[in-house]
Each structure stands twice: as structure tokens, then as C-alpha cells.
């Protein structure tokens, strides 16, 4: 599975577990408008670290979440290389 596919599958799975209705995932969809709350995002980050072996947020001094789904995916694509 590509990094993009893994990230998107994880987002969909976590949204499902937390009964959040997701709009179709497009790159310009703002994360905060996706229906996911900050706890869901934390679960996604923890699962992706387990699955991809990277956590792009752990290396920064301050945890800044990206704004859109596309930026979120790109962070993982960059970190996985």
C-alpha cells in the first residue's frame, strides 16, 4: 500500500470507530472540517506511527497540525522517505 493509501485508510477506519461522518477525502479538505476531532487525530497519528514507523510530529518542538488532508498526507510521504 502507498503511504497515501495507508493514511487515507487509517483516517476512514478511525472515523468509523468514532462514528464520525466523513465527507469524501480530497486534498484541499480542511482537517477541522472533516468531522474528525483532535482525539481522533491523535489516534490516527498513533496508528500511523505503528503502521508506517514514522511520526512527523514527534520531531518538531511544537506539535503543529497541518491544515488540509493533502498537507497531512504529504507530511507522511516526506517523513517515510
Amino acid at each position: 500500500m502507498t503511504v497515501r493509501a495507508t493514511v487515507e485508510a487509517t483516517i476512514v477506519a478511525v472515523a468509523g470507530e468514532h462514528a464520525k461522518a466523513l465527507p469524501p477525502l480530497t486534498d484541499d479538505l480542511p482537517l477541522l472540517d472533516s468531522g474528525l476531532d483532535s482525539l481522533c487525530l491523535a489516534v490516527i497519528v498513533a496508528r500511523l506511527e505503528d503502521g508506517l514507523g514514522v511520526d512527523p510530529f514527534s520531531t518538531s518542538e511544537e506539535a503543529v497540525l497541518p491544515v488540509t488532508v493533502g498537507e497531512f498526507v504529504k507530511l507522511y510521504e516526506d517523513a517515510a522517505h
Binding site: 470507530e17 468514532h18 482525539l39 491523535a42 489516534v43 498513533a46 496508528r47 506511527e49
Partner: protein, 245 residues
């Protein structure tokens, strides 16, 4: 076997907690800087009845930067994490005005920063598992009463109580419960320096006219870890023979 990490699980309250959890069917993983003879004997005993139920993992909890790696190594060796009991702590006493500054730092590091950081990574491991979990923080009655000579220690134990309540709200939606156990005075290495007269005074002022022992504290922790406590979160169970009643 569901895994429960017990920090400081090799002596005092911690070893009683780890043994009780092992007896209740969990794998208790005791974390400390080193093993000791009594702990080794307990492991042997546990091996005879329930192999693998009491294990040791060496780690210095002051090494906060290494906590993420340590938690990852535990998951790798033992599998998913069900519970964490933050029990290791320093009991440094002394009048604040003459307490050495590095002592203040050390106390807050081991009693506050370390368990909070360890909890962060344990919660992330529980998020991966997606099966809920249990966090139990060992606070103290001193978090809510006053005791001369224990101001910094009391601050550290009150910090855990505040941490417990807010974190319980934060991760409740994931089915992870967070609670405190507040023991009164219990005879352990930590309290060995207490003067007999002070000890007698604590007994005299306790409703039950005795001290709780490590087994009593362990029973409270085991309840909070158990499935029976699934609807108990964000609270403190006091085990002090009625000293603060």
C-alpha cells in the same frame, strides 16, 4: 495475558501491586533500575503457578528522553498494553527553606514529569490497540492534607491527582480509564526514616487505629485495573485506614 506495567514494581507498594495483578491473571511488568533478591524470589514463585505473570524490565525513569523507545520495546517484547500503574516515586522530605534546589528538581522529575511522559506513550500504545485501557496513578493522602516537611512531595502528588481528572475526560471516549489511589502512611523502604512517635501519632489519629499495608493498596489498584471498574474514572480511592476521614 493482558499486560500491565507497574513502575517501581520491585519493592514496597509496587511489588505488592505487581504480585496482586499477577495473581489476578495479568502479566505484571515491574519497571525499576535493578532487580533485588526479594523480587527475584517472587518471580520464581509466580513462575510455579502462572508462568510469565511477573516480569522485570530495567529502566531508569529519570531518563525521560528514552521513554518513547522504552515503551516501544515493551510493546515489542510483550504485545499490546492493557494498563499502566504509575507507582515509582521519590519520598524526599525536608523543610522547603533548606531543601537543595536540585532535590526539588529531582523530585518533580521522577514524581511528575516522568509518569506524565510515560502515560503519554502508554496511551498512544493503547490507541493503537483500540481496546481501551487502564491508567492508575499512585498519589498520596498528602496531596489533599498537609504535612510539614512534605511540601514538594505533596505538590508532586497533587499534580498527579489533577492530571488524573483532566486526562480521564480527555481519553474517556477511547474507553481508557484514569484513576488515582491515595495511600496513607504504609511501612516501606520509603517511610523507614519516620520516627516511631510520628508513626504512633498517625495510628492514633486513624479511624481504624492502625495503618493500611501494601496489600490493601494493591487491592484498590487491582480493582481499578479490573473489568469491574469499567465505569470508574477520574477519581481517587483513598486507602488510609480512615486517617483523613
Amino acid at each position: 495475558m493482558r499486560n500491565v506495567v507497574v513502575t517501581g514494581g520491585t519493592r514496597g507498594l509496587g511489588i505488592a501491586i505487581a504480585r496482586k495483578l499477577a495473581a489476578d491473571g495479568y502479566r505484571a511488568i515491574a519497571v525499576a533500575r535493578q532487580q533485588n533478591d526479594h523480587f527475584a524470589a517472587c518471580v520464581q514463585q509466580a513462575e510455579a503457578t502462572a508462568p510469565g505473570s511477573l516480569r522485570f524490565a530495567a529502566f531508569d525513569l529519570n531518563d525521560i528522553a528514552f521513554i518513547p523507545k522504552f515503551v516501544a520495546s515493551l510493546s515489542e517484547e510483550f504485545g499490546p498494553l492493557h494498563g499502566l500503574v504509575n507507582n515509582a516515586g521519590l519520598g524526599t522530605s525536608g523543610i522547603l527553606a533548606t531543601l537543595a534546589d536540585p532535590q526539588i528538581e529531582r523530585l518533580l522529575r521522577l514524581n511528575v514529569t516522568s509518569p506524565i511522559t510515560l502515560t503519554k506513550y502508554a496511551v498512544r500504545a493503547m490507541m493503537v490497540g483500540g481496546a481501551g485501557g487502564r491508567i492508575v496513578n499512585i498519589s498520596s493522602v498528602v496531596a489533599s492534607t498537609g504535612y510539614s516537611g512534605l511540601s514538594v512531595y505533596a505538590a508532586s502528588k497533587a499534580a498527579l491527582a489533577g492530571f488524573t481528572r483532566s486526562l480521564a475526560r480527555e481519553i474517556g471516549p477511547l474507553g481508557i480509564t484514569v484513576n488515582c489511589v491515595a495511600p496513607g502512611f504504609v511501612d516501606t523502604d520509603m517511610t523507614g526514616g519516620m520516627k516511631p512517635a510520628q508513626r504512633a501519632q498517625i495510628i492514633r489519629r486513624s479511624a481504624l487505629r492502625r495503618l493500611p499495608d501494601a496489600k490493601d493498596v494493591a487491592a484498590a489498584v487491582a480493582f481499578l485495573v479490573s473489568d469491574a471498574a469499567g465505569n470508574v474514572t477520574g477519581t481517587t480511592v483513598t486507602v488510609d485506614a480512615g486517617n483523613t476521614a
